[in-house]
């Protein structure tokens, strides 16, 4: 092999984006609040949000699990994390972000675990927070043996919702486990 050389390569990215869509990361501080920003009003640290699940069976083994971030209409949330762990007879097939937030920087899953994080978008005019009572994420799960029990457990240590740096998820009221029959 000839002596080396080189270096180089690869590269990527993203560029055309710069022409179609301006960067959303101005280096200057964000200016005065827009009407949207006023949504970020004080919520007095109340834990008013909770996750709720709706399960629908697609085939004998496949099910769709829609998870909603519920709360009072008009209340804002800066970000939310949801960590789910599959039981032995269940595997996670796919995970899709929902519409609660404009940004889902983390949609990570293996057959045994899913971690989803949605966050408020930050634009030149301010933050666009998440909205309550909208779909947070959808999962497709497979019951390996439909005759045996299976479940998805919420890992509470990896689950939360926050506003102005404070927790706003009511863990008592929030989803803890989804059992597939």
């Amino acid at each position: 092999m000839k002596p080396l050389v080189v270096v180089l390569l690869a590269v990527l990215l993203v560029g055309g984006v710069a022409l179609k869509k301006p960067r959303t990361t101005p280096s200057t501080p964000v200016g005065s609040p827009s009407p949207t920003v006023t949504l970020l009003k004080e919520q007095k640290g109340e834990k008013i949000f909770y996750f709720e699940a709706r399960l629908s069976k697609q085939t004998a083994t496949l099910s769709n699990l829609d998870i909603f971030l519920m709360g009072k209409n008009g209340e804002s949330v800066d970000g939310a994390d949801l960590t789910l762990e599959a039981s032995k007879n269940l595997r996670i097939v796919n995970v899709f972000p929902g519409q609660t937030f404009r940004q889902y920087p983390r949609v990570f899953f293996t057959e045994e675990e899913a971690i989803i994080t949605g966050i408020a978008d930050l634009t030149a005019s301010g933050a666009l927070p998440g909205e309550a009572n909208r779909l947070f994420a959808s999962l497709v799960v497979e019951q390996i043996d439909p005759t045996l029990p299976a479940s998805l457990q919420v890992n509470t240590a990896g689950t939360g919702a926050y506003f102005q740096g404070k927790p706003v998820l009511n863990q008592e009221q929030s989803l803890k486990k989804v059992t597939l029959k």
Partner: protein, 339 residues
């Protein structure tokens, strides 16, 4: 003129870093026990920036010392340098592993400059009295674990930043430019997208050796000379690990994925043929992609590792005086798009 592809990356040296050997002995320059440390942080910094961090020392799998409040000063190209006083009596006959946790960043565990995280199972740092030096600037520390630090980056950290946007706040102003803004938000967002957390402590206790009775017996043959000779294991031979890296690299930015073809040759110096493996080549290539993305895209793009098939064909060539190639720090996008 705007670049069509501004955010690019370069696998510059393709992640071929120098292996310093199986044992890392620091150089002595002065009396006392100090550590000259050099590390790299995600983000861009002003020249007068200083960062604080914590160091935990591990002997085998036990944490034997913690040093809080150590400080480093910005040097250049995201690198911080400084000298840490290790005010603790250490058994200098033992090797150590080092966990480094900068304020506002995720921590990493080092067994050697190149054995980090999951691959760090046995500490290999041997301290000696005097000034020891450690350069780990080949590894990027990711931002976003804000006080009170919990070893992970999640929406709580993003929320803390959003609460202080446009304000002066030491806790959430990650790059210390005097104001909490979209840069701090974006740095944290990128770490989130990589699903990173503090390195788990994966150190193991030493393996218990089999009893002498169970060990195979070795018969030593007499040498032709009168003096007895010892049979030794083959010496490790330093050399070049030459690699041909092929595949595709995908990067996500604002929901859009860009793909580039990779077809390159490069090399790194290794201390033995056993270090020249396909897995190590791929691992370092991926690490370099992430590092280059962070450097050239300011944390806005993320490496889609799961959808970036890479292959390395490696070949070991003995070369006692091997020197590593100079890293290319360019951010130009010269590679081909995927079909």
């Amino acid at each position: 003129m705007k670049r069509l592809f501004w955010g690019l990356i370069f696998l510059s040296s393709l992640g071929f870093f120098v292996y310093l050997g199986s044992q890392y002995v620091f150089r002595t320059r002065a009396s006392g026990l100090n550590l000259a440390l050099k590390l790299k942080l995600q983000g861009n910094y002003r020249n007068d920036t200083k960062i604080q961090f914590r160091i935990d020392l591990y002997s085998e799998s036990l944490k034997i010392a913690t040093f809080n409040g150590a400080q480093l000063s910005y040097s250049e190209n995201k690198v911080f340098e400084g000298i840490v006083m290790l005010n603790q009596e250490l058994d200098l006959s033992k090797p150590y592993a080092i966990f480094i946790k900068p304020e506002k960043y995720l921590g990493q565990l080092f067994c050697s400059p190149t054995e980090v995280g999951e691959s760090c199972t046995t500490g290999k740092f041997n301290f000696i009295s005097g000034l020891n030096s450690l350069d780990i600037s080949n590894q990027m520390f990711y931002a976003g674990d804000l006080a009170p630090q919990d070893g992970k980056v999640d929406s709580a950290d993003i929320s803390k930043i959003l609460a202080k946007i446009g304000k002066t706040d030491a806790i959430t102003d990650i790059n210390q430019d005097g104001i909490v803004n979209s840069i701090d938000y974006t740095l944290t967002q990128r770490t989130l997208s990589l699903n990173k957390a503090d390195d788990e402590i994966t150190l193991v206790s030493p393996t218990i050796l089999p009893s002498p009775t169970s060990a195979p017996k070795v018969t030593t043959l007499p040498s032709p000379t009168s003096a007895p000779t010892a049979t030794t294991a083959p010496q490790s031979v330093r050399g070049r690990c030459e690699g041909i890296i092929t595949g595709e690299v995908r990067v996500k930015y604002l929901g859009i994925t860009e793909c580039r073809v990779v077809e390159e040759e490069d090399y790194r110096c290794v201390n033995s043929a056993s270090e020249c493996t396909k897995a190590a080549c791929i691992r370092y290539t991926k690490a370099e992609i992430e590092e280059t993305l962070a450097r050239c895209d300011h944390g806005l793009a993320s490496f889609d590792e799961a959808n970036s098939p890479l292959n390395c064909e490696v070949k070991f060539v003995p070369e006692a005086n091997c020197t590593d190639p100079v890293q290319d720090t360019s951010c130009d996008d010269t590679s081909e798009k995927c079909n």
